[in-house]
């Protein structure tokens, strides 16, 4: 177990720690080794300037210095299975075409005609080539020029110098990443510890079973920060207190790009004190809709955590046709959320198989785009891979209108009720600063340090 020297030198919740639980369970289950360690370092207690979330100038600086320089997840490989399949990935004021140009080649181009700048594609689909709708300039899928109508009028446009400008492309775990910077280092370096950790949870073997997107009334960083700490749980999701060890979650930071939390379920919040195991199990089963909450029973000598993990293992097995009987408790029910700078949040484990992505909405500092994907285990032996879920743009303010994400929508409704108030309050702030906890909000502080390297303070 690799606990950094600093990991236990600062105040923590009085509740049982995730490591105490996971180390104990590792005595009788196969708990992934990467979950049996901590990686916390104190990063100071400085405030964050509020204008990072509210200023149009800061959003412009991000568009100039951040988004064109960083690796970012553009789509799933399964979103573009056939040659000619493509997606349009919009980020800030940029638009990128991500296309399968050959059976084993994915390319990315700036989505702008070299003639007068028209977007080559307004949305994804499947095409044999990219033809501008304005004057018909056309490129092959490999980015080479195919045709300029009335070529005689463009003697200054030599075809071999008229390829579509490319972005770098990399893939990991079934996701396609792009980087607009031709001088950027490889994706593999950017990912830091993620490949090592996710060897236990190969997301390339999952199916994107749901994909919901919604425009939020807050800055993209406000949105991310609402989902990378469990400190808010006892206030925003009080119903979880019966079975969520919220304030004793574990927070880890790695390198410059990666962080995670491990939020233990099946135990009560330390804020609530001790509860009987039957009450915990019934509340979890009822709220997570796993089985009949009135029939759940915690046998003498067992625990709510054991019972609900076993129920989840059985449900996962039945829902996928895969044998999950050996899945550890933590992979079955806990919230194990990773973050990759700047905007990609893949969850480990299987009971809550979420991927989040957050993007600015153009250059507007007061709105953003949130995407929720559910990554289902892909049954082995299928005659062919099922198609991934298409994106569902949620127009309403009620996430229950996205039934494909189940009870997650209920929790998101609670989160959403805060976000516009955060954004408005940041504009109204007299101190012009944001304060952060030293431990529970370390992931926020960690990514802001990286953000500062690109955008400045």
């Amino acid at each position: 177990m690799a606990i950094l020297d600093d990991a236990r030198s600062r105040p923590r919740s009085s509740g049982v720690s995730p490591q105490e639980i996971l180390q104990r369970e590792a005595q009788r289950q196969e708990v992934p080794d990467v979950l049996l360690s901590e990686s916390y370092t104190y990063l100071g207690s400085d405030d964050i300037p509020a204008e990072r979330y509210t200023s149009a100038e800061y959003a412009r600086l991000e568009a100039e210095h951040l988004w064109p320089k960083v690796w970012q997840m553009a789509c799933r490989e399964e979103d573009i299975p056939e040659v000619g399949d493509h997606v349009v990935y919009d980020i800030a004021n940029y638009s990128i075409l991500v296309v399968r140009s050959a059976p084993d080649v994915i390319k990315a181009y700036h989505n702008s005609c070299l003639h007068r700048g028209t977007q080559l594609r307004a949305e994804g689909g499947s095409v044999p080539f990219f033809r501008c709708s304005f004057h018909g300039w056309t490129w092959n899928l490999d980015g080479t020029l195919k045709r300029i109508p009335a070529q005689w009028d463009f003697p200054h446009c030599q075809p071999d110098r008229m390829c579509l400008p490319e972005c770098q492309v990399g893939t990991w775990a079934g996701f396609v990443f792009i980087n607009m910077d031709p001088d950027a280092g490889p994706l593999e370096d950017w990912l830091e510890v993620l490949p090592e950790h996710f060897r236990h949870w190969p997301l390339e073997k999952r199916l994107k079973a749901a994909h919901v997107a919604k425009i939020l009334p807050c800055n993209w960083k406000v949105a991310i920060e609402a989902f990378i700490e469990a400190y808010h749980v006892s206030s925003t999701h009080p119903q979880l207190a019966f079975y969520d060890g919220d304030t004793n979650s574990q927070y880890d930071i790695y390198g410059e790009h990666v962080s995670r939390f491990v939020n233990i379920l099946g135990i009560p919040s330390p804020e609530l004190g001790e509860l009987d195991e039957q009450t915990i199990a019934e509340a979890f089963a009822r709220d997570f809709r796993i089985g009949d909450a009135t029939a759940v029973e915690v046998p003498e000598g067992s625990s709510a955590r054991e019972v609900i993990a076993e129920t989840m293992r059985q449900l996962l097995s039945a829902g996928s046709g895969i044998d999950f009987s050996k899945l550890s408790n933590t992979e079955a029910i806990d919230s194990i959320e990773y973050y990759l700078f700047p905007n990609f949040l893949p969850w480990a484990g299987l009971g809550i198989p979420i991927v989040y992505r957050f993007r600015p909405n153009g250059l507007d500092p007061d709105t953003s785009i949130m995407e929720v994907m559910l990554m289902a285990p892909l049954p082995e032996g299928l005659p062919q891979r099922p198609p991934p879920a298409p994106i569902h743009w949620l127009e309403s303010d009620d996430w229950r209108d996205a039934p494909e994400i189940g009870v997650l929508g209920l929790a998101l409704n609670q989160d959403m009720s805060n976000l516009h108030k955060v954004q408005r309050g940041l504009h109204a702030s007299a101190t012009k600063t944001v304060k952060l906890g030293d431990y529970q909000e370390i992931r926020i502080r960690h990514y802001h340090r990286t953000l500062e390297k690109y955008v400045g303070k």
């Binding site: 999701h237 299987l350 994400i405 409704n413």
Partner: protein, 71 residues
């Protein structure tokens, strides 16, 4: 009718047929009726936890488990 118990406040939240939420303080017996968005409508109890009002409303719906079924 769906009743949910607040873990900290010793109150309970009851979604009513008209879409409002009756909140009952189990310590002193006072009650209040609120819109899901938090506006107080009637009763001596004039404050309620807005997140529990939302939860009392939403959890009564038929949402399914998170883990998707692909079989």
């Amino acid at each position: 009718m769906s009743v949910v118990r607040h873990p900290y406040d010793n109150t309970e939240y009851l979604l009513q047929g008209d879409g409002t939420v009756l909140v009952r303080d189990l310590t002193n017996g006072t009650e209040g009726v609120f819109e899901v968005g938090g506006r107080h409508l009637s009763g001596d109890l004039r404050w309620a936890d807005i997140h529990m009002l939302r939860w009392a409303n939403d959890t009564a719906s038929g949402s399914k488990a998170i883990a998707p079924d692909v079989t």
